[in-house]
Amino acid sequence: MKDLLNNLDKAFENRIRLGIMSALMVNDYLDFNALKNLLGVTDGNLASHLKALEAASYIEFKKEFLDRKPNTKYSATKAGREAFKKHIQAIEQLLK
């Protein structure tokens, strides 16, 4: 039981971070506004969760300019994808 709990990733404890990661698993990239609409959260809230995932190097971002407006595209890193898969496996084990 203890081992199983160790496999759970602290970075995905939070529902919003879990949501961000789920969306980025099935999309090559999503921009800030797309994530905001999907999750229904405020700018500040989303930004802080993105920062947390970025600090864990689970996601990366690229800044671009669209019609002179800054547009930030987020995508999951290889490490992030592996960590997310491990997290889901841990949940599934736990629920068995």
Partner: protein, 204 residues
């Protein structure tokens, strides 16, 4: 605690589907498109019974007057059916507070339009070369391919609808004499049936 993780899994599945699929498709869109198609087919039948049907297959320079009328009917049918589908789906997205033109709906539209426009151009080429009888099977087949192609980005049911359209299209090509009944089945009856099914299943 188990509950939290069950909820987590549910959230993961929901986010994955919501972020990659456009799910605000309205069942009414299908019903409206189906009814429009049947009306269009009825109008075509009127023209065909009034004119000598054989005249239509004459391949000469340009379009004869009944041929021109058929093209007009087809164009009206497409505009009304697509307009109604877009209208009901927009309404649905508004009610659900979902953006109508986002990454998901853009991807859906692009993947739908590539086979669809190809089929449209191909049909016009058939028409201009005087092969009017092949137009109905062709539209069914390309429409089916378009649906199968786009189904990855919307409700799962669209895939089976697309496959059925392709099968009906191939049958219509094989049995040309009944192709316009099969066209009514594919574009009319199937749309209405799927529209009602989606309304019942998703309550939309």
């Amino acid at each position: 605690m188990e509950n939290k993780y069950l909820e987590d899994l549910k959230e993961i599945k929901e986010m994955m589907s919501k972020s990659s699929r456009f799910i605000s498709l309205s069942g009414w869109s299908g019903v409206a498109a189906g009814v429009t198609a049947l009306a269009g087919l009825y109008a075509v039948d009127q023209v065909l019974s009034r004119e000598n049907a054989r005249l239509l297959y004459y391949s000469g320079e340009g379009l004869s007057e009944p041929q021109f009328m058929l093209v007009c009917i087809a164009a009206c049918t497409i505009v009304v059916a697509a307009g109604a589908a877009i209208f009901f789906t927009t309404q649905k997205a508004k009610i659900e507070n979902q953006p109508i033109w986002d990454a998901q709906s853009r991807r859906l539209t692009i993947n739908l339009l590539i086979p669809l426009i190809t089929g449209g151009i191909f049909s016009l080429m058939l028409l201009s070369k005087g092969n009017l009888e092949f137009v109905m099977p062709t539209t069914l087949i390309f429409y089916g391919l378009a649906l199968v192609n786009a189904s990855r980005y919307t409700l799962h049911e669209i895939r089976s609808l697309g496959i059925l359209e392709i099968i009906i299209g191939l049958c219509a090509m094989q049995w040309l004499e009944v192709s316009h009944y099969l066209w009514g089945l594919g574009f009319g009856i199937l749309h209405i049936a799927y529209g009602i099914y989606i309304r019942i299943k998703y309550k939309q």
